[in-house]
């Protein structure tokens, strides 16, 4: 009897119950974090525009590989780029943002026509992904070209203190990590 008791006790310890578990559920795990960061800040005072006169006063290409980072390029499912522009100069201005690939081929461009002051600040959002531009643009962007054009003259001067063109931008990307 004592032996039976002993084995029963052992059995209680060695055998246990569990609800049915499905460890394959881990395959369904999907994280969708949204990452946000500023992209480019561009600023030019009115004196620089006047010194250059009518026409393009700045145009440069520079490297930009944020979207080519592997963890973004592989996982991005959606993106939004936000542009904010404020012009306190006396001039009509043009601004062109171009995304280029490694071979300097333009993948995407965003032109802005900016009225002289007084004018409201401009904000524009561009979507990439299912409801917007192709995500391949982001994945292949290696450089950005920014071109700023003085559509006015080379002598006018705003009456505001420190007149200038200010361009701000940020990007939000949604990743799908599985």
């Amino acid at each position: 009897m004592k032996t039976i008791l002993i084995f029963c006790c052992c059995l209680l310890l060695m055998v246990s119950c569990s609800e049915e578990q499905d460890f394959n559920q881990v395959d369904d795990l999907s994280l969708q974090p949204s990452l946000a960061s500023s992209l480019l800040y561009f600023e030019s005072n009115e004196d620089t525009m006047n010194a250059a006169g009518t026409g393009v006063f700045f145009s440069e290409v520079f490297t930009f590989e944020a979207f080519k980072e592997k963890f973004i390029a592989d996982e991005v499912v959606e993106g939004t780029i936000t542009y904010q522009i404020e012009n306190t100069t006396s001039k009509s201005l043009g601004l062109l943002i171009e995304f280029l690939n490694e071979a300097d081929v333009v993948l995407y461009q965003e032109p802005f026509a900016i009225e002289p002051q007084p004018t409201a600040a401009l904000e524009r959002q561009v979507n990439f992904g299912p409801n917007g531009e192709s995500l391949e643009i982001l994945r292949n962007t290696a450089k950005i070209r920014i071109s700023a054009t003085n559509e006015g003259d080379g002598s006018s001067q705003s009456t505001l203190t420190d007149p200038k063109l200010v361009f701000k931008s940020s990007a939000t990307v949604v990743l799908n990590v599985e």
Partner: protein, 487 residues
């Protein structure tokens, strides 16, 4: 409901707990109780553990989400379960931990010239892993920063620790008089591998920018110290035909004092307050390991903020740098310095403290036992003939356990009842409260068949009704050959 055995559970469950062996403590029919209190009553003439089978224990615990919470086949979307039951339910105080111990050999014997002394020595290997839930980092990974403008993610939530260590020990248990038994054990540690990251500080934060739309700021003082780990990683990376063999050889070599060494000690006592009431206490693993072999440490320190690329005219008209992106990356790397080094370091052992008060009662020959209640009258003239010189029929009491952990001491409080059924069976049941469970009932059984001793113990038995939903589980068992008297 599906039947699974405990072994499957222990292998499948990654999470384990606080190294509290409440059932074994002061269960002195089992020689392994000497490892929890070198000053425990030692009623043996000699004992020898069956090599590799004398002491096996594993403990697993989670103070937060359970396996069942996440993996139950309940039709709930797995991502919903992760979000609701882990990400937004757990805090940085929640911990997953796993510990295990395997005794390689153990021997004990009573001194011939001084029968009040009981000597024991042996070797065991043990491993431990603890991961605190990195709450803010988990939320950052799950949500990202875009929807958390102004929220500061605390990097100090990153805390984990793990080790595999082999321990050679020698202890002396001495009966001073009828009321006092004391003991001490010296330990030589051979660390196979160890890693720890704790005491980190810093944060990551996204705010509205001063110039541009957003500003990302990181302030970091993070470190990870490792020893031994890199050697195993290198072998795995080689991926040769002999990888498995190389791993085993490296493990054995580092186990047998080819790694990093350390010293430590245990002390303990048992004191009879009266004929049937006694108190015990022990302090274990007071020691250190000096890591100077196969050390690789990582650190990230500094602060940086970023508002994207910046072009300001007219300053940037001359000498415009077309490699703005690399310049930004270089600036950040310069401000937040990532370094590795091989500086030696010292790790303190996780000090453990046990204490108990116990009252024996029941129909036993207390007067006789009173004389021999240390269990040390073994010089061939034991007063109880073939009995085991055990001084109780029933016992009740309370136990306290404390351990020093990365985020401060943790404690567990147990009440216990212990009973002997003849000379064959002893039983101890415990009720323990700690951070893992408020309903932890443990049970231990000790069998004595002639000179063969077998014990098996488990904790949190109520959790075994649905073991996957349990916050805590432990199992220990072993075989010994021992002599109580003149066996």
């Amino acid at each position: 409901m599906k039947k699974i055995n405990v072994l499957f559970f222990l292998v499948g469950l990654v999470f384990c707990t606080a190294q509290n062996k409440a059932v074994l403590y002061d269960f002195y029919e089992v020689p392994q109780a000497l490892l929890l209190n070198p000053g425990v009553k030692a009623p043996y003439k000699w004992h020898a553990g069956v090599p590799l089978l004398s002491g096996f224990s594993m403990q697993a615990g989670t103070s937060g989400v359970t396996v069942n919470d996440l993996f139950a086949n309940d039709g709930v979307d797995f991502n919903t379960k992760i979000r609701e039951r882990a990400i937004y339910s757990m805090s940085q105080r929640d911990e997953f931990s796993l510990s295990g111990q395997l005794e390689l050999f153990t021997v004990g014997f009573r001194g011939k010239n001084n029968p009040d002394n009981y000597y024991s020595f042996g070797m065991y290997g043990e491993g431990f892993f603890s991961q605190f839930w990195p709450q803010d980092l988990a939320i950052l990974a799950f949500e990202g920063n875009a929807t958390n403008i102004g929220r500061r993610f605390d990097l100090s939530h990153l805390t984990n620790q793990g080790e595999v260590v082999n321990v050679l020990h020698f202890g002396v248990n001495k009966r001073l008089d009828e009321d006092w038994t004391i003991g001490a054990r010296a330990k030589l540690y051979s660390s196979v591998l160890e890693f720890k990251t704790k005491g980190n500080s810093g944060y990551f934060e996204t705010t509205l920018g001063e110039q541009n739309i957003l500003r990302n700021t990181v302030v970091a003082d993070l470190s990870l110290e490792t020893s031994g780990l890199q050697e195993f990683i290198d072998i795995i990376d080689e991926d040769s035909n002999t990888t498995q063999e190389d791993l085993i050889n490296k493990f054995i070599s580092r186990s047998l004092f080819g790694g990093n060494l350390g010293l430590g000690f245990d002390v303990g006592f048992t004191h009879n307050l009266s004929a049937n009431t006694l108190v015990t206490g022990s302090l274990l693993d007071v020691g250190f390991i000096y890591h100077n072999n196969a050390v690789k440490n990582y650190s990230v320190t500094g602060s940086a903020n970023n508002e994207g690329l910046e072009i300001i005219l007219p300053e940037d008209l001359a000498n415009f740098n077309t490699d703005l992106w690399q310049e930004l990356v270089d600036d950040i790397e310069e401000q937040v310095d990532y370094t590795t080094d091989a500086s030696s370091w010292v790790s303190l052992r996780p000090v453990k403290l046990y204490a108990s008060i116990r009252h024996n009662f029941g129909n036993t020959s207390t007067k006789t036992v009173r004389r021999d209640n240390c269990g040390c009258a073994f010089n061939g003239a034991g007063s109880s003939g073939s009995s085991q010189n055990i001084d109780y029929k029933n016992a009740v009491g309370a136990q306290l356990f404390m351990i020093n952990r990365p985020k401060g001491p943790q404690a567990a409080l147990s009440a216990f009842y212990q009973k002997r059924l003849g000379n064959i069976l002893a039983l101890k049941t415990t009720y323990t409260i700690d951070k893992y469970s408020l309903s932890n009932i443990g049970l231990g059984l000790n069998f004595q068949a002639g000179p063969v001793n077998f014990y098996i113990m488990g904790d949190n038995l109520l959790g075994y009704r649905n073991v996957a939903d349990s916050h805590y589980a432990s199992l220990q068992f072993g075989f010994n050959i021992l002599s109580w008297n003149d066996n």
